[in-house]
């Protein structure tokens, strides 16, 4: 477990004392409970699991790690080409 996917908060409302967000997942909108992420704001990305946001995606962390991953991709490709190794296929 567990299937949680990232979505962007488009709107935040209070529904019967529960902080609820209208969250967009690649073009579809779904309601998610935001009670576990009181710091979340409109335009933040959140990880949503069974209708509840469990974290706010940390942009800087993501960017930092991704930059490293991308460089690994480039280096890896070069190494593979140099050693004549073809990617497993």
């Amino acid at each position: 477990m567990c299937l949680a996917i990232p979505g962007k908060i488009a709107e935040i409302q209070e529904k019967e004392g529960v902080r609820t967000g209208r969250v967009l997942f690649g073009g579809i909108a779904r309601q998610a409970c935001l009670d576990f992420v009181p710091e979340a704001r409109v335009n933040d990305y959140v990880m949503v699991h069974v209708g509840f946001a469990i974290s706010v995606v940390r942009k800087e962390e993501a960017e930092r790690t991704y930059a490293l991953l991308e460089s690994m991709g480039v280096v890896g490709e070069e190494l593979a080409l140099r050693s004549g190794e073809t990617p497993s296929s």
């Binding site: 996917i5 967009l24 073009g27 579809i28 909108a29 779904r30």
Partner: protein, 370 residues
Amino acid sequence: MQRITNTDVISLPSDSVNQEVNGTPAGFACPVPLPAGGRVLLGHGSGGKLSAELLREVFLPALGNPVLDRMEDQAVVSLNGMRLAMTTDSFVVKPLFFKGGDIGSLAVHGTINDLAMGAAKPLWMSVAFILEEGLPLDVLRRVVASMHAAADRAGVQIVTGDTKVVEKGSADGMYINTTGVGLVREGISLSASQAQPGDAILVSGMIGDHGIAILAEREGLKFDTEVRSDTAALHELVGTLLEATSEVRCLRDPTRGGLSSALNEIAGSSQAGIELQETAIPVREEVRGACEMLGLDPLYVANEGRLVAIVAADAVEEALRALQSHPLGADARTIGRVTKEHPRMVVMRTVFGTTRIVDMLTGDQLPRIC
């Protein structure tokens, strides 16, 4: 690593019909037959392995005959030198009305498509209604008007019908059963058993629209860009394709059970393998998002206005051009090929170049949380 071969599995005492189901020899799935006193499950209607099992265990032993046993989407019978195609279908969709269509247009299109997949020109239909007591007449009028419009557009006549009413609580409002009759195009014989290694696999457009449109309506999913059912009559598209090339082996409309079921059936009937390219499978962004969210795989989601075509390798260009020239085939593309490797199995080459099996589902695809 060795490949598993047929001789390595437990063999069954065969039933009266030696039916290959879902692309694997009957012995590979559980050899224990349906228990006597077992019950019908929802999964038996989902177009996957359970459906195949029901056919194998209940229907074919009792009803089998040379025409039925061929198990195509339509039956072809000969009369006075003419080849007639006949099909039957039932429509139990809930809700009755959805974006892009309703149970009425679905019924007409679905019947036409089953005939079209056999290269038959659809001519006549029967329609039988099973209505729930209490259904508002306005609803019935809307559905019937929609059926009339769909049949009219397709040049099909609804020539006979029937009505039954059942007590409140049954039939989800209404069920529709149809029979369609058409004339098979001369000089053409399409069959799921004709796929050969080297053939190309084409799909006429984006997959998963219908299933997601229905699910969205039922579950109250809101889409920024609406997902509409793709329900449509495909006989003209088929006509355009068959005019362009005679080297079409097989056509299927991937309805319940999705693209995966249709391809597994073809692989099974043809005793050939199928290899798909993940990067080539066309899926609308909204459909992909809905599937990610619910943990569904678009390969298993129903379509009602798409076809899969198996064509000879050297006919691919003309075939694609023909499909793409028609509004219903604008997004047509090649998604894979038939191979002699892994016979009866559908295998996907992933974006990473690795492989995985695209299995036939057991019953309905269940949304997952894991």
